[in-house]
């Protein structure tokens, strides 16, 4: 089934900093696109701040901690700074939120997309070994992803265009979670197609006539 309001608990985990990398990037992207989500995360982060104020102010720290910090500052000791963003074209800039862009080597058009057949293309995103599979999915206008269920969950953030699934339309900026009981077959908007950021916690399992061909390709 499709979960109602899947985002609220995940936004809490995002604010608290407890999500695995793939989903953390997804929530950060969602927050960048959605004003309500941003307001929630700001409120939740303020709760974190209030809790921090109530932390134990007598916790023992190294007696030379301040001097160490000052000398590390003066030495220019920089713990793991982010790499600069790759330059991208205007379209990529418009549809890919900043947290997700950090995972792209270049513009959308320049990525090494893999054809999944039937007008569907996939680009695998490297989010490290967190046990989840993160990718960009492009469904051409009017085409569909073959009907499939999930052994685990599928998290989807629509970046551009829209898709219709079981009569419900999911549009750019929407965030949806499908679970293992949900056999679905999203059809992309007939004019715009659909670009999604998708995270799965188990390989998709395809049904229908082409399922047996597609299944081996969806392993990771």
């Amino acid at each position: 089934m499709v979960e109602k309001n899947p985002a609220d608990m995940m936004l809490l985990d995002h604010a608290a900093g407890t999500l695995p990398p793939s989903l953390d990037v997804m929530m950060a992207s969602y927050v960048a696109l959605n004003q309500d989500a941003r307001a929630s995360v700001e409120a939740l982060t303020a709760v974190g701040g209030a809790l921090l104020e109530d932390e134990d102010a007598t916790t023992e720290i190294a007696s030379d901690a301040f001097d160490l910090v000052m000398s590390r500052i003066n030495d220019g000791d920089a713990p793991a700074e982010t790499q600069p963003l790759s330059p991208v074209d205007a379209h990529t800039q418009a549809v890919v939120p900043l947290p997700l862009r950090r995972l792209l080597p270049g513009s959308l058009d320049s990525l090494k997309w893999k054809s999944r057949g039937g007008g569907v293309r996939e680009y695998h995103l490297d989010t490290g070994s967190d046990g989840l599979k993160a990718s960009l999915l492009w469904i051409a206008p009017g085409r569909s992803v073959p009907q499939h269920t999930h052994r685990g969950r599928e998290y989807t953030l629509v970046l551009e265009g829209a898709y219709t699934d079981q009569k419900e339309t999911v549009a750019a900026g929407d965030f949806v979670v499908n679970d293992s009981t949900d056999a679905h077959s999203p059809v992309a908007d007939s004019a715009l197609g659909c670009l999604c950021f998708a995270v799965t916690d188990a390989p998709l399992k395809f049904h229908g006539p082409l399922g047996w061909i597609l299944n081996p390709f969806m392993r990771y």
Partner: protein, 213 residues
């Protein structure tokens, strides 16, 4: 920052810890002043004051998350280095000092835990988001909200405070909190929703009934 605000709220010799009410507002203004002085003047004395107040709390935060003392010390030191470097990004109309510090230590803890395989996310990722309102009224409003939030936090029922604290401090997702407490996931979600509702002033503390949510 405009001068009139600083004159209104700064009390240089004010005691920081344990202050409440009007004093609580002063206290928060003081910490905000320290951060702004670090940003504007690279003021080492202001940084030292900030360090005295917050370094132990930052370390305590990471230790609660299960980090051993040395690791928590490292996370705290990296967080304080970030405070120095990113002080110019602090905006008192946007977040209270403790909220800003929370985001820094939270991210440093994440970096520490996932140094090998986590793609780097920075607070800057949200910097492109424009704020629509600001100014002196907003400023006071944000601080009152901070105080209101703290007083509501103190009034939470024990089992609601417990799930909120676990969610924020123990590096556990809400699913793991449920496992940890041996309570059904649905109950945990309800407690979290109730707690967050109360903290936002949307739940009647007498009845736990939602008001307009």
């Amino acid at each position: 920052m405009s001068d009139h605000r600083r004159q209104n709220y700064t009390t240089p010799r004010h005691r920081f810890v344990g202050a409440r009410g009007r004093d609580g507002v002063n206290k928060v203004m003081l910490a905000a002043d320290w951060i702004e002085r670090v940003a504007a003047e690279r003021d080492k004395a202001a940084f030292a004051a900030l360090f005295r107040e917050f370094a132990p709390r930052l370390k305590s935060f990471s230790m609660r998350g299960g980090l051993p003392s040395e690791a928590a010390e490292e996370v705290m030191q990296e967080a304080m280095i970030s405070v120095w470097r990113k002080a110019h990004q602090f905006d008192r109309t946007k977040a209270s000092p403790s909220t800003w510090l929370f985001t820094i230590v939270r991210n440093k803890r994440l970096d520490y835990l996932r140094r090998e395989n986590r793609p780097k996310l920075q607070e800057d990722d949200f910097a492109h988001v424009e704020r629509t309102t600001s100014g002196a009224d907003q400023d006071v409003f944000a601080l009152q909200q901070n105080e209101t939030l703290r007083s509501r936090l103190k009034k939470l029922p024990a089992e609601q405070l417990e799930v909120i604290q676990k969610a924020f401090f123990e590096d556990k997702s809400h699913t793991e909190v449920a496992d940890d407490l041996g309570v059904p996931l649905g109950t945990i979600k309800s407690r979290i929703r109730l707690a967050l509702g109360r903290l936002r002033g949307m739940v009647d503390p007498e009845t736990d009934g939602f008001q307009g949510m």
